[in-house]
């Protein structure tokens, strides 16, 4: 019973095949393949430096892998090859992302940050904007309204006109999610969205992700917190040293010896020095 590995591609939303990514001597991805079904929440876990973010970067066009391909099935229209496309084109196809180290537009307001996302699908150009043509004005109004809705969705309705840089950390994370949602994605990639948030914020985040998933958006999630992964993910892919070492339901993965080895192999022998951070202590416990 390996979910997501069914042979019919009919309900897949994304499939990566044999991705290889090298930086000089460092191999970040070494033949990574991955499948995600539409509507599914797939978690990618793995130790730091395993290549999770690199995988995201390959999926979103920020990096171009030396080898391999990525197919994306938009909610409407024909499947598209992502490798070789520029990031903005991939976003327009319906793959949105957040960054591990939050990257907002710091001097723009929360609303404007999200607006930029919503404007991906707008078509009016410079001339219409200058002349203030009706369709441009309408698009503008729609963008503002949609952005406002999304801010409400992530619980930032009260922050509309504040600068992104002035928001507290946890809110910046949610703002980034709202901005990504603004682009109207079929697939949302979240890179450690819970990093640096407190338990209450984590619960809110889990609820938010569930809600997003409920609107039909497939979510691909990098996360270290196993509690969160267990409560959210339909299936889990584990990376280590740039390879997929396991795939399955959260339960299966948790019992997988290779996974336990990957997480504990070195850390165990070095003893207690390692996991000062709460997250990893948690990860470890859960994995046992």
């Amino acid at each position: 019973m390996s979910p997501g590995a069914g042979d019919d591609t009919g309900d897949l939303v994304v499939e990566a095949r044999d991705l290889q990514l090298r930086f000089g001597g460092v191999t970040s991805l070494d033949g990574v393949s991955l499948r995600q079904r539409r509507g599914e929440i797939l978690a990618v876990i793995g130790p730091n430096g395993a290549g999770k973010t690199s995988l995201f970067n390959c999926l979103t066009g920020a990096y171009r892998p030396q080898h391999g391909s990525v197919t994306f099935w938009p909610s409407s229209g024909r499947p598209a090859e992502l490798v070789g496309r520029r990031p903005h084109a991939i976003t327009r196809l319906g793959v949105a992302r957040t960054f591990q180290n939050i990257r907002l537009f710091p001097a723009l307001s929360a609303l404007e940050n999200v607006q930029i996302g919503t404007e991906v699908r707008q078509r009016y150009g410079a001339v219409s904007a200058i002349l203030g043509l009706p369709h441009a004005r309408r698009a503008e109004r729609d963008g503002v309204r949609r952005a406002g809705e999304l801010l409400d969705l992530v619980g930032l309705g009260h922050r509309t006109h504040e600068l992104a840089a002035s928001l507290p950390y946890g809110e910046q994370r949610r703002l980034e999610i709202a901005r990504a949602l603004g682009t109207g994605p079929g697939l949302l990639l979240l890179d450690e969205p819970a990093a640096g948030t407190n338990p209450a914020e984590k619960r809110d985040l889990a609820a938010l992700i569930t809600r997003i998933s409920g609107t039909g958006v497939s979510v691909l999630l990098i996360e270290h917190d196993m509690t969160l992964v267990m409560s959210l993910a339909t299936s889990v892919t584990v990376l280590n040293f740039g390879r997929v070492i396991a795939h399955g339901t959260p339960g299966e993965v948790q019992r997988n010896p290779a996974v336990i080895e990957a997480y504990l192999g070195v850390a165990d022998t070095t003893g207690d020095a390692a996991p000062a951070g709460g997250v990893d202590a948690g990860t470890r416990k859960e994995l046992r």
Binding site: Y63, A129, Y169, A276
Partner: protein
């Protein structure tokens, strides 16, 4: 972001999330939590984190204070490196700290330099004579006094500012309140417009009146360059080349005699506006499309070369452009339409009013552009290009758009310029490009009102210096203006609020303020 891919070497397009290979820990080899602590942003609350996370990795924690609150973010200290002191009680000994004395030394040097700059002109037979004469002149006392006075002001700045704040408080509060009121900016704009309308009536001599039209031309040029520098965060050093394209296009189409090379028919200059606009934009696209995909500073040097080539051709191609003699006899602008018959003649005033109308229209147009999705996308590109791409902004196309819009405004201004009847390639030198850059920087990049003010002040300075120094020597002052602004007031005289915030935030390590890539490496002193 996209250096084309060299095989076997993925473009490090998005280093944001990634450590460099030299400092990256081999994947998985090290205990997870250790490396994670290096990468994770420090937690704001909740789970305990190892203290003292590595300062080089991870983002700076976001500031809690509203970023508009500028004073908090690292402002450069004045030349000596001493930040105006805190609230500590003042004491004469404070004047003679090493840093203060260094500051004084620097100011004295600047005073000497200023004396040389304003002193007599030299020649190569006695290369240092002029500089010596400037320094060994009684005038030097004045410069030294000024330097010391400036030093005293800087030293006492904290106190002075306190006094000033107290003195002006009764005035500033109501003015601030009035300005904050709805519609106040409109009132301000109307007042400024009224001044602009009255100005040529007040200035008397013909020379002054022609200066006023020059201001108009440069204001237009600056508004165009502002789209490139201020909105898209790029640098175009060959900007004046498009101006030249506009001017020569006009000569080509409107006159059989202005240049050896001309169209088989003649057009009214008004019809040349669209042609020049399109040609200049096209030239901009041809130049920008291949260059813009590279690192941003290459654009600067490629445009520099382009500007120089256009100037070279204009100056040397006697058989086409009439070479250094320039084009003479381009007809004035005129309207013959529906019984309306009007020609803009020798009198610069009607010409000025036409320019004023155009400048105002362009300001309104670019204001709308700035507030549209396109303006927001430009802001996104400046502040974080990688995030902008990931949010679906076609960064390349938008940069190209800015570049083309800038070029077309420049071409448009070229038509205005040419239809004053006479021009020669001197007006299209590299230095003229730099002058427009100076105008934008001085006024405030990204600020429409700012760049127009910049044009007024710097063109005014140019005019003032006209009888005092050699024409070419004026560029010494413009160069100094650029450097001084960059050191002390990078946001310009009348800053755009957003641009100022971007500069402050980027200097505090949050986001960026241009689209040339990450800030230069190297430690802070």
């Amino acid at each position: 972001m996209s250096a084309p891919n060299v095989p076997g070497q993925p473009s490090p397009a998005n280093p944001g999330d990634q450590p460099d290979p030299v400092r990256g820990v081999p994947a998985g080899a090290a205990p997870d939590a250790d490396t994670m602590a290096l990468r994770r942003p420090p937690a704001q609350s909740g789970a305990a984190r190892p203290a003292g996370a590595n300062p080089t990795d991870g983002p700076a924690p976001p500031p809690r204070s509203p970023a508009g609150d500028s004073a908090a973010v690292g402002r450069g200290a004045p030349a000596g490196g001493v930040a105006p002191g805190g609230r500590s009680p003042w004491h004469p000994a404070m004047l003679f700290t090493p840093a203060r004395l260094r500051q004084l030394g620097a100011l004295v040097l600047v005073g000497l330099l200023a004396a040389v700059v304003t002193g007599p002109t030299g020649n190569s037979d006695e290369p240092l004579q002029a500089a010596w004469d400037s320094i060994a002149d009684p005038r030097i006392v004045l410069f030294l006094i000024l330097a010391v006075a400036l030093w005293v002001v800087l030293v006492l700045w904290a106190e002075l500012r306190g006094v000033l704040t107290r003195l002006t408080a009764p005035v500033r509060a109501p003015v601030g309140a009035a300005y904050g009121r709805r519609g106040a900016p409109i009132v301000l704009n109307v007042v400024l417009l009224a001044i602009a309308i009255i100005a040529p009536q007040v200035v008397s001599t013909a020379a002054q009146q022609s200066m006023v039209t020059d201001i108009g031309i440069y204001a237009l040029l600056a508004l165009g360059l502002n789209v490139v520098v201020g909105y898209a965060g790029l640098l175009d050093l060959g900007y004046i080349a498009f101006f030249a394209i506009g001017a020569y296009t006009t000569a080509y189409f409107t006159s059989q005699s202005a240049m050896p090379w001309h169209a088989p028919f003649t057009l009214n200059p008004f019809f040349v506006f669209p042609i020049a606009l399109v040609l200049a934009a096209l030239a901009g696209v041809i130049l920008g499309a291949p260059t813009l995909r590279l690192r941003g500073d290459y654009l600067a040097i490629v445009t520099l070369g382009f500007g120089e080539i256009i100037h070279l051709v204009a100056n040397n191609a006697d058989g086409i452009t009439n070479g250094a003699r320039g084009a003479f006899g381009v007809p004035h602008l005129s309207v013959h339409l529906l019984g309306l018959d009007y020609t803009w003649g020798i009198d610069p005033k009607p010409y000025y009013y036409l320019l004023l109308a155009i400048v105002v229209l362009v300001m309104i147009a670019f204001g709308r552009l700035e507030r549209s999705r396109i303006g927001r996308a430009w802001a996104a590109i400046r502040e974080d290009e990688v995030a902008a791409e990931a949010t679906g902004v076609a960064t390349l196309r938008l940069k190209l758009l800015a570049f083309a819009i800038g070029a077309s405004v420049s071409g448009f201004a070229g038509v205005m310029f040419a239809s004053k009847q006479f021009f020669n390639p001197q007006s299209f030198s590299l230095q003229a490009s730099f002058f427009v850059v100076a105008v934008v920087i001085f006024g405030g990049m990204g600020s429409r009102l700012g760049v127009v003010v910049g044009a007024v002040v710097l063109q005014g300075l140019a005019f003032y210096l006209r009888d005092k120094v050699e024409p070419a020597d004026r560029y010494i002052y413009f160069g100094a203006v650029i450097v001084i602004m960059m050191i002390f007031r990078p946001q310009g005289l009348v800053p755009s609020r957003r641009r100022r915030r971007e500069i402050e935030l980027s200097e505090a390590g949050i986001g960026s303020a241009d689209s040339l890539g990450s800030a230069p490496a190297g430690g802070r002193p």
